[in-house]
């Protein structure tokens, strides 16, 4: 399903696809590489390719030239993001920096911060990670306790963050810290840009249920952060963190819809190619109905996303309704993966490395990985609270008075 796009945009897409076919590095796009756990090697491929994109004018398309961008349109940025999302296994390396860090800096950073960081995000020189969650501040993000004490021209940071994606590969971190412990939860927080090579930063990987370690714990032990790495004002970091989270919900979807489309296509292929009782399973009405319903949901989600983009294209900021997309894609992906499991039967259990496995175990990996979708970036339960309270205006959960 396509909304009509103007001829300029169509030409731009064609031009980019052409460039892509000549420049995308083979070593990173093989089926094998897509489920490889060797992220250090992948990160290097990413940096090289990102530099190529940057040099060719396909990075930061809609941002101002003074920050390394192209002063192009948001639609062009969307086109490039869409096309990169399915055949490009390194989205994880710049999803955060391009999708979250750069927009946050553009809207809230100082001129110096924009000039220092945005070009290096676009050229692939800096990979970023996000230090928000803590062991006791998951859903209740405002409960965080990592502290930053100002001493002269520096903050000294102490504490622990957790569930930091690619923390072990990142050059910089957006970090939310408590700068005033004497005031209420949302108050007294500040938003810092932290060099991950600073003395006192220790990263420890967390092995997840897929067997891989995408997430990390980060420990801060008297880590010094120059004062000019503060974004916004001291003790006003909560609002900036919320801005980041809203960008996360909206921008993520640009690359998620094409990925889900790819999953649906693979699912239809899988069902077409699986024969049981002498008949292709795609002929079985039970599975036809299930998969057609997934298709309905995907098309609806795509249109939801177009509506969001239409809002962004009008220059409006994303609002709390971004939670709709987060709930939608995370549950849809889980249902797609579950359907694949059902169809494969015992084959669903096979991991990569088995010659009997479908798609070299990608289904099994993606299925397990999908369990995280309803947790990461704000649980489904939190998103429903956001919708209930901030969109529908229902009363807040009653908080026990301490």
């Amino acid at each position: 399903m396509n909304l009509t796009m103007n001829p300029d945009d169509q030409a731009y897409r064609a031009k980019f696809l052409n460039w892509l076919s000549e420049n995308i590095p083979a070593e990173g796009t093989s089926a094998e590489a897509k489920i490889s756990g060797d992220w250090c090697a992948q990160a290097e491929i990413f940096r090289k390719f990102q530099r190529k994109l940057f040099d060719a004018g396909y990075a930061g398309i809609h941002w101002s030239k003074e920050y390394g961008g192209q002063s192009g349109t948001l639609m062009q940025h969307i086109i490039v993001t869409e096309e990169l999302s399915t055949n490009y296994p390194w989205k994880m390396f710049d999803g955060l920096s391009v999708g979250l860090v750069a927009p946050t800096l553009l809207s809230r950073g100082t001129e110096e911060q924009k000039k220092e960081f945005i070009p290096k995000i676009l050229s692939g020189e800096h990979i970023w990670c996000q230090g928000f969650s803590e062991p006791n501040a998951g859903s209740d993000l405002a409960n965080l306790s990592t502290s930053a004490v100002r001493i002269g021209e520096r903050y000294v940071v102490n504490g622990q963050k957790v569930w930091t994606s690619i923390g072990h590969l990142a050059d910089f971190c957006i970090l939310v810290v408590r700068t005033d412990p004497t005031v209420g939860k949302h108050k007294g927080l500040s938003y810092l840009l932290v060099d991950m090579k600073s003395p006192g930063v220790t990263v420890r990987p967390i092995k997840q249920i897929t067997g891989e370690a995408e997430y990390n714990e980060i420990f801060f032990d008297d880590v010094e952060v120059p004062f000019d790495r503060l974004v916004g004002k001291e003790n006003e970091g909560w609002l900036i963190a919320i801005t980041t989270l809203m960008f996360e919900r909206i921008m993520n979807e640009i690359s998620i819809v094409p990925k889900l489309q790819q999953t649906l296509d693979r699912l239809i292929d899988l069902t077409s190619n699986t024969t049981r009782y002498g008949q292709a399973m795609i002929k079985d009405p039970v599975y036809r109905q299930k998969i057609a319903l997934l298709q309905v949901e995907l098309e609806v989600m795509r249109l939801n996303q177009y509506r969001n983009l239409a809002t962004l294209l009008k220059g409006e900021m994303p609002g709390p309704e971004g939670s709709i997309g987060k709930i939608f894609w995370s549950e849809l992906n889980q249902r797609m993966q579950e359907t694949a499991m059902e169809i494969m039967g015992p084959y669903s259990q096979l991991l990569k490395g088995s010659k009997y496995a479908e798609d070299n175990g990608k289904w099994a990996f993606d299925f397990l990985r999908a369990r995280g979708n309803t947790i990461e970036g704000g649980t489904t339960e939190i998103q429903k609270n956001i919708i209930g309270e901030r969109v529908l205006g229902l009363p807040k959960d009653t908080v026990r008075r301490n």
Binding site: L293, V300, M301, R307, E381, G393
Partner: protein
Amino acid sequence: MDFTLTSEQEMLKNSARKFLNNNFTSDYVRKMWENSQGYEPEMWAQIAELGWMGLTIPEEYGGLGLTFRDLGLILHEMGRVVMPGPFFSTVVLATELIKTAGSEEQKANYLERIASGKLIATVALYEEGVEWGAEGIKLTSTRKGDNYSLLGKKLFVPDAYSADLIIVAVRTENQVEAGEGISLFLVDPQTEGVEIELLPTMDQGRKLCAVSFLNAIFSSTEVLGEVGKGWSAIETMLIRANIGLSLEMLGGGEKVLEIATEYAKIRIQFGQPIGSYQAIKHKCAEMLLQVESSRSIAEYAAWTVDGNPQEVSKAASIAKTYVGNMYRKAAAATLQILGGIGFSWEHDIHLYYKRALASEAMFGDTVFHLELLASRWERKL
């Protein structure tokens, strides 16, 4: 298509909401439930005066020549008040069928009368057993010179009881492919041998009827378009009917969510508004997710009718499936949130719930539309 309204569309929508809120109050809707016609001529005349009857009828036939997307805005608003009466039958079903299949003369004749509010019309399609495709058209005709004698029965014909014109799908040829040999007869309900029976159904806001033909005689000039070539026009009409229905259901779902949210804010149990409990809050949030998603697909589908005809059939099936499911579930969830009062006849929620159920069972159920979508996989569409 960027989902925003032009200022004309905003005006149309706002004036429709105002008119409908003023005139189609709960009391009036309930009065029409008790009325066997389902409408009152004075109200019909008022609506015609607003130009709604001819909204998508070309200006040459006395209409406004607007798009289906514009009509969708009105249908959306009608869904919000569960509007009773033969508007949908006349302006979506009959009008679209005549626009697609009619000769120049037929269009001039019927469309002008519809646009001016002088003709109430409907389409009779389904029969006993209810098969959704062309194979369901079994009502037989016997040719006698220039005349056809019709024998058989149509079921679930909307608003036949109030219609001046019923367009009836008849099998005039057998032993051909299911989609061939179907003719559309322009039936005056007063014709001898035509009997109309009002069916007792849940949703009395949209009356369904049985229309029986006991060797009723019609001339070949009383066929819409060409004899034997009716099915493709019906397909076009069904696509638009499903889209129109989706807009109406979207309006219903939107209103039902408002009812739920409002009640959740003021109903106190255990010392707090029930909306502060996650069981209720999250139910409302899920409804919002589905209502907003329904808005995306229903508005897009309405736009495709004029804006992207290649996508319209697929969009119709997706819209009907998704929005139909949303409306039924949202109405049921709201009934549950309302508790006892929601189970009472006095509260309006049952009007919405019954409309949701009735709408989902019109023009192809979910299993049918999902299979339509699945059948495209092999064709790689």
